[in-house]
């Protein structure tokens, strides 16, 4: 027997995720955005913990002081005060975790549904696929935001309701994506090889199809977070979101819109916070997509 197999050259990171990470690191905007995302998450976490421990920092976000109302940014209130004399900076920091929690959990809900439904449709095909995708089409016919608005109006505005409702109406895109991935992947020779090996259907889905679809799923997940953040901000702005006195970025703007001509700081800073949060998630997601989508490397 001939044996000529020799040591192959040791090339840079071997694992698929290692290679994606290397490409991601080369993208400066992506890295900057990721740093921002991490920073935001840390801020949200720290101020959430401080709030629960009852430590008002920099000030109690709910403490009113009518003698100091509608003050522009100054040495005590760095970002000014609102119409009840509450410190805007404290309210912004305190509201951060609402936005991020809603973003992450809503995406988790929508991803769980979307991936499951899409996987079933894509793997089984035929009438199963047809039935599921027609339902998806029907759901997609509704304008998402108004669907959320209606559902929250009926169920009552609480954080849990908002998260669940956003998650329940936003899974359709993920389902379509996963289905499309599965339709391609299930024709792959290694899937055929797995069947020729006598592997069971569910095992093929979880072991052979899902990991190969992981990259685009991760990208939609990251891109789904800002959508949910914006949806929550929109709901709060309209008064259907998280109820006062709990501060969220959306309801700070809602409270401030009456004073828009006199107190620009009430709109600008929470607006910026929403912008920065959404943008950093979008940019991270975008960089991630570029990092994982180089498929031509070596099939």
């Amino acid at each position: 027997m001939i044996t000529t197999t020799t040591e192959p050259l040791a090339l840079a990171p071997a694992t698929p995720s290692g290679r994606a990470w290397r490409r991601f690191r080369a993208n400066r905007i992506g890295v900057a955005a990721l740093v921002l995302v991490i920073l935001l998450a840390l801020v949200a976490l720290v101020f959430f913990v401080l709030d629960r421990l009852g430590i008002p920092f920099p000030m109690d976000p709910d403490m009113t002081n009518l003698e100091r109302k509608l003050l522009p940014p100054n040495s005590i209130n760095w970002l000014g005060t609102d119409n009840l004399g509450r410190d805007v900076l404290s309210r912004l920091l305190n509201g951060a975790y609402i936005s991020l929690t809603v973003g992450f959990i809503a995406v988790f809900v929508s991803l769980s549904i979307g991936v499951t439904v899409g996987a079933i449709a894509g793997y089984f095909g035929k009438w199963v696929d047809n039935l599921i995708m027609r339902v998806v089409d029907a759901i997609m016919c509704f304008p998402t935001f108004f669907l959320i608005l209606t559902a929250v109006a009926l169920l009552g505005p609480s954080i849990i309701n908002i998260i669940v409702v956003i998650g329940l109406v936003s899974w359709t895109g993920t389902a379509r994506l996963v289905r499309a991935e599965f339709l391609t992947l299930r024709e792959a020779p290694y899937v055929q090889a797995a069947r020729a090996l006598g592997q069971r259907g569910p095992k093929i889905i979880f072991r052979h199809l899902l990991p190969n679809a992981a990259a685009p799923i991760l990208v939609t997940a990251v891109l789904g977070v800002p959508e949910a953040i914006l949806a929550e901000a929109g709901l709060s702005f309209l008064g259907f979101g998280v109820q006062p006195p709990q501060a969220t970025w959306g309801n700070i703007i809602a409270d401030g819109k009456t004073y828009i001509l006199d107190a620009w700081w009430l709109i600008l800073f929470p607006g910026l916070a929403i912008l920065v949060a959404a943008l950093s998630f979008y940019l991270t997601g975008d960089a991630l997509r570029q990092a994982v989508e180089t498929r031509s490397e070596r099939q």
Partner: protein, 281 residues
């Protein structure tokens, strides 16, 4: 060991039903494979040889494929009548496959180790030291430094090594029949020779029956004891390899043998098959 063939195929017919027409991929195939025997199925693209191979364990997607008739008996048991649990044990455990494209037949996101281990766990749950078994089979297929190489991802291996991994994966389940569907088509000629040598020596060592599917008469001659020639969905000729090569009976077989380029031949053009001259079978 009794003398009954391990695999009996009788009048197998497979259609592909498309929207506007029906393609008869296999129109009539009957053959036997004995225990430990090596049989080659030779034919050009579209002659139905791969479809026949996949039909052995009902791997064809239904629809569009349709098993129109015939019988496949594995050790006397009718494959057509097996339920899905029995089929899964048959696939891999008793009839294993090696496919044409080793680079795409391996899942790109898992290491070689985890993929061979998957095969072992499926069909030999009694094996406790799975890693040792993986190393043993990688050794058996001639992969150098198997304990280290098994942690590689498929893209880190050359085509020849990938095919060796596929072979290791198939053999690790200890099948009775190994179906090699054009195992060397994607490899270059020197690697082809190595892989064929490897298959030959493994076959002798483990004593399984091998069904080699190829369009290349050149690699059949030194390898298979018996050869079946398929043309347009039918087996047009079968017999001992040397016999068929020396005295081909069917016009198509002759044409196919004539297509093998010969070193030192003065012909300036490679021969092709004139289908009109052969006609329908």
């Amino acid at each position: 060991m009794n003398n009954e063939p391990i695999l009996q195929v009788r009048d197998l017919r497979v259609d592909f039903v498309l929207e506007d027409r029906t393609i008869e991929a296999v129109r009539s195939a009957s053959f036997n494979v004995d225990e430990g025997e090596t049989v080659a199925i030779v034919g050009e693209s579209g002659s139905g040889k791969s479809v026949t191979a996949l039909a052995l364990t009902r791997l064809l997607p239904v629809p569009p494929a349709q098993l129109k008739g015939g019988e496949i008996l594995f050790r006397g048991e009718n494959v057509m009548a097996m339920d899905s649990a029995r089929l899964r044990r048959l696939r891999g455990g008793q009839i294993a496959y090696i496919f044409q494209e080793p680079s795409t037949s391996l899942n790109p996101v898992f290491t070689v180790r985890s993929q061979i281990a998957e095969a072992i766990r499926l069909h030999r749950p009694e094996v406790t030291k799975v890693d040792d078994e993986v190393v043993r089979w990688l050794d058996a297929v001639g992969i150098y430094d198997a304990a280290k190489r098994m942690n590689d991802y498929p893209h880190q291996l050359s085509g020849g090594m990938q095919q060796r991994v596929m072979i290791a994966m198939a053999l690790a389940c200890q099948p009775d029949v190994l179906v090699a569907d054009e195992p060397t088509t994607a490899l270059d000629v020197t690697i082809q020779a190595q892989i064929m040598d490897l298959l030959g020596s493994l076959k002798d060592k483990f004593g399984m029956a091998v069904i080699l599917i190829t369009h290349n008469f050149g690699i059949v001659s030194g390898f298979a004891a018996r050869v079946l020639v398929m043309y347009r969905g039918r087996i047009v000729e079968q017999g001992p390899t040397a016999e068929v090569l020396r005295h081909p009976q069917h016009a198509y077989t002759r044409a196919l043998i004539d297509c093998i380029p010969r070193l030192g031949s003065r012909e300036r053009r490679l021969r092709t098959i004139d289908h009109a001259a052969i006609g329908d079978v």
